[in-house]
Symmetry: C2
Subunit: 396 residues, 2 copies
C-alpha cells in the first residue's frame, strides 16, 4: 500500500484533508463541513499563524486591484458573499467576529495624487460603483482626524474590514461544530496519490484522504507533490502595527500613500503594511516599524498619542502573476490547490471556499478557475487533463 | 493575636519576608539567605516584572549622577561589588548571566555637548576616574558604527551592563539554592507590627515574620504601613526597545542625547529609554517607540537594518530627592525599606542587599543609610528613634 513502511498511517480515511489553517484553509474546512464532508485540517503552527495573524482584514477589492481584470472580479464576487459568510460563521461558532462595512477613505496629500483619485472616482462611478470624490474640506469633514495636508479623498462605500485572526478562529469553531477535526502534527512534507485516494505525509506519520486541499499559503511550495513541480508561491513579508487608541475614534479605514489605518474598534487601530521580498524572514524590523509609525502620524496626526501594542509580521503568499492558485493540477486530480492569495486571502476566503466545495462536493467547476489553475506556471504542458467526470464526485 | 480574624495566617513564622521580587528584592533575598536567614519573597507579578523587565541593566554611576554626592558615592560603591556579586550569583544559581564591563561611550553631536563632555573628562580625570576624551576621529575609531555627526565622545572604562531580568531570575535561583522560598499570592496590602513580629497581609491571607523588607519599587506606596505614611515613591515610566542585531556588533554601550544603545550580545541591542511622569500606565506608546527608533538610527545609523523584537515598559520608583529609600523607619523598626531606586535599581542592588543584610543579620548600620531613611520625607518628626540594640539582631 505504501512505499514508506516506516511511516505510520494515522486514523481513518478522511473525505478531505485541508493542509493549512489560515483564513483560507479554515474557510474551506468550514464550507466543506457545512456541506457534509468529513474534514481534517492539519497545521503544525496552529490556527491563523501565517499571513492571517498580520492581516488588517481589509475588504477592499476596488483598491487592491488597480485595474479591471480577474483579481477585481474575484474580489467583488467574494465581497458580495461576505455578509452571509459572517452571519453563518457567527451562528455556527457562537463567536463574535468584528466586521464592518463602513467604507474606505483613500487620501491624497499632493496634487498629482488628488488628480489620480479624481479620475479614479469618475471611472468607478461610470462602472456603477458607489463612491464619492471629496475635496479637502469634505475629506476633513468625513474624517476630522485626517491630516490638514489632505488635498482630496475618495470614499468607497462597499469596502470594509474584518478581524482576520478572530475570523480564522471562529471558522475553526464553526467547522468543528459541523464535525471537522483539527490536528497539529509536524509540518506536512509530501502529498502523493495512493490508488484512488491521497496520502498526506509528515516526517513520521501519514493520513489518507479521498481529497487533499493545499492551503498552506507561503509554505505551499515546501510541500512536495509527487510528480508535480512545487507551486511557485513566494513569501512577501508584511509588517503591521497594533495601536491602542483613545479619544475620538477613526470613523472608517483611512488609506494614504504610506500606510492604512484600520479602526478594529474604538480602542484599537491597525496600521499596515510593508511589502517586502525577503524570503522566509518573519521578523519585524526597525525600518518597517519606523516607516509605519511615521506614515500613520503623517496621515492621522492623533496617532502620536496612541499606545503601541505590538508589531506583527506575516508572509503573504505571492505568485508570479499576482493571482491566486485555486483548483486541481492536471497531473493529480485528487489534490486541490487553494493558495497564493497574496494580499487578498481574507477578502477571497469565502469565494475560494465556495469554489473548492463546489469542486469537491458537487463536481462543479466555476469558470473563473480557468485563470487560477496551478498548471499555468508549468513550463511543460500538463499531463493528461483532469478527468473531471471521474474525480469530481468522490464518495463524500 | 490579630484584629483581623477572617484572614488566615499562612505557614510558619519566617525570619524575613521580602515584599517584591524585582532585582532589588531578589538581591536582598539572596544576600539574606547566603547569610543564613530563612527568607520568603512575595510578589504576585512574578520575578522581575516591574521596572526590572524594562531595564537596560546599565552600570554607569558616573553618568547617572551628574555631580558628586550621595548617589555617585552609592553607585561607585555598588559597582565595586559587582564582579563578586555576579560570580556568586552565577555559582549559586548555576545560570549564565550576561555581564560586561566594556565601558560606555558617551557621544556629543554638537559643539556645546562636545565642550561639556571635554570639561567632564577633565573633572573625572582629576578625580582619578579612568576615562578618555575622544575627538571625532578617535570616537569613530573607538566605535566604527557611530554616526558621522559625532563631534566628540568620552569613554568611561569602569562602566558596563548586565542583563537585568536574567540577573533577577538567577538571583531567585541562587536564593532558592540557599533555602529561600517564593510565593506569588495576591498583592500585599498592609504591613503591621504584631507583638515583636511583623505581619504581611494580602486581602485573604497573612504571613508572620520577624522582619519585613519592603522592596516593591513603584508599588511600595500602595502597601499600607500601620501607623506610618506611605513611602512617597512615584512611578516614572521608561520605554525600552529590544532590537535584533546583525553584522558588525556594537563594541560597548553608546550613549547619545536621545537614547543609549546597549549591546546585550552580538545579536541583541537594547535601546532606552523614555522618562515619563504618567502614573501607573505600563503601555508603550507611538511617541515613545518612534522617538527611540529615531534617536537610535541617528546615533548608530546601522540600527535601521536591525530587527524589531519588542517594546518593553517599566515603572521606575522615583523619590522626591532622587535618592533611594533604604533602612528602617523610626516608627516601625521591624520593617526595612529598600525601594525608590529610580533608574539605578540594577546598579545599586548588591550594595542595597549588603546594607539590608548588615542591618537585619548583623545589626550593623552603614553610615550611608543616614541619607536614605524613609523618615526624611515625613513632615512630622519621626517617633522614637530606632532602638537598634533591641531589633538589629533578630534570632535568625
Amino acid at each position: 500500500m505504501s512505499s514508506k513502511a516506516t511511516i505510520a498511517i494515522v486514523g481513518q480515511v478522511r473525505d478531505v484533508v485541508v493542509v493549512g489553517a489560515g483564513v483560507v484553509g479554515s474557510a474551506i474546512a468550514y464550507e466543506l463541513s457545512r456541506r457534509g464532508a468529513d474534514v481534517l485540517v492539519v497545521d503544525y503552527r496552529g490556527v491563523g499563524r501565517g499571513a492571517t495573524q498580520a492581516s488588517a482584514g481589509m475588504l477592499a477589492p476596488y483598491s487592491e486591484a488597480d485595474r479591471p481584470g480577474p483579481l477585481l472580479t474575484l474580489g467583488v464576487r467574494s465581497l458580495d458573499l461576505y455578509d452571509d459568510f459572517i452571519d453563518n460563521v457567527r451562528a455556527d461558532s457562537g463567536r463574535a467576529v468584528a466586521y464592518a462595512r463602513d467604507g474606505t477613505l483613500q487620501v491624497a496629500v499632493d496634487e498629482w495624487e488628488a488628480e489620480r483619485i479624481e479620475r479614479w472616482a469618475i471611472e468607478l462611478t461610470a462602472s456603477n460603483v458607489p463612491c464619492s470624490f471629496l475635496d479637502a474640506a469634505a475629506a476633513r469633514s468625513a474624517e476630522p482626524l485626517l491630516t490638514p495636508h489632505a488635498r482630496a479623498a475618495i470614499l468607497i462605500r462597499a469596502h470594509g474590514h474584518v478581524a482576520a485572526r478572530e475570523l480564522a478562529l471562529a471558522l475553526v469553531e464553526a467547522a468543528r461544530a459541523r464535525g471537522a477535526t483539527w490536528h497539529e502534527p509536524e509540518p506536512v512534507r509530501r502529498v502523493a496519490a495512493l490508488d484512488r485516494d491521497m496520502r498526506v505525509e509528515t516526517s513520521t506519520s501519514a493520513i489518507v484522504a479521498r481529497r487533499v486541499v493545499l492551503a498552506a499559503g507561503s509554505w505551499s511550495g515546501s510541500v512536495a507533490i509527487e510528480g508535480l513541480p512545487p507551486v511557485p508561491v513566494r513569501p512577501v513579508r508584511g509588517q503591521l502595527l497594533q495601536l491602542a487608541w483613545s479619544g475620538e475614534p477613526l470613523r472608517r479605514i483611512v488609506w494614504g500613500s504610506g500606510c492604512y489605518c484600520v479602526p478594529m474598534s474604538d480602542r484599537s487601530v491597525l496600521v499596515g503594511a510593508t511589502v517586502e521580498d525577503v524570503g522566509f524572514d518573519e521578523r519585524a524590523t526597525v525600518d518597517g516599524v519606523r516607516g509605519l509609525l511615521d506614515a500613520a502620524c503623517a496621515l492621522v496626526p492623533r496617532a502620536v498619542e496612541a499606545g503601541f501594542l505590538e508589531a506583527r509580521v506575516g508572509l503573504r503568499p505571492g505568485t508570479p502573476d499576482a493571482l491566486p492558485v485555486v483548483g486541481p493540477a492536471g497531473g493529480m486530480p485528487g489534490l486541490v490547490y487553494a493558495t497564493g492569495h497574496y494580499r487578498n486571502g481574507v477578502l477571497l476566503a469565502p469565494l475560494t471556499a465556495a469554489f473548492v466545495a463546489d469542486l469537491v462536493i458537487d463536481g462543479r467547476r466555476d469558470p473563473a478557475l480557468d485563470g487560477l489553475s496551478p498548471d499555468r506556471f508549468s513550463a511543460d504542458p500538463p499531463g493528461p487533463l483532469l478527468d473531471e467526470t471521474h474525480h469530481a464526485q468522490p464518495e463524500v
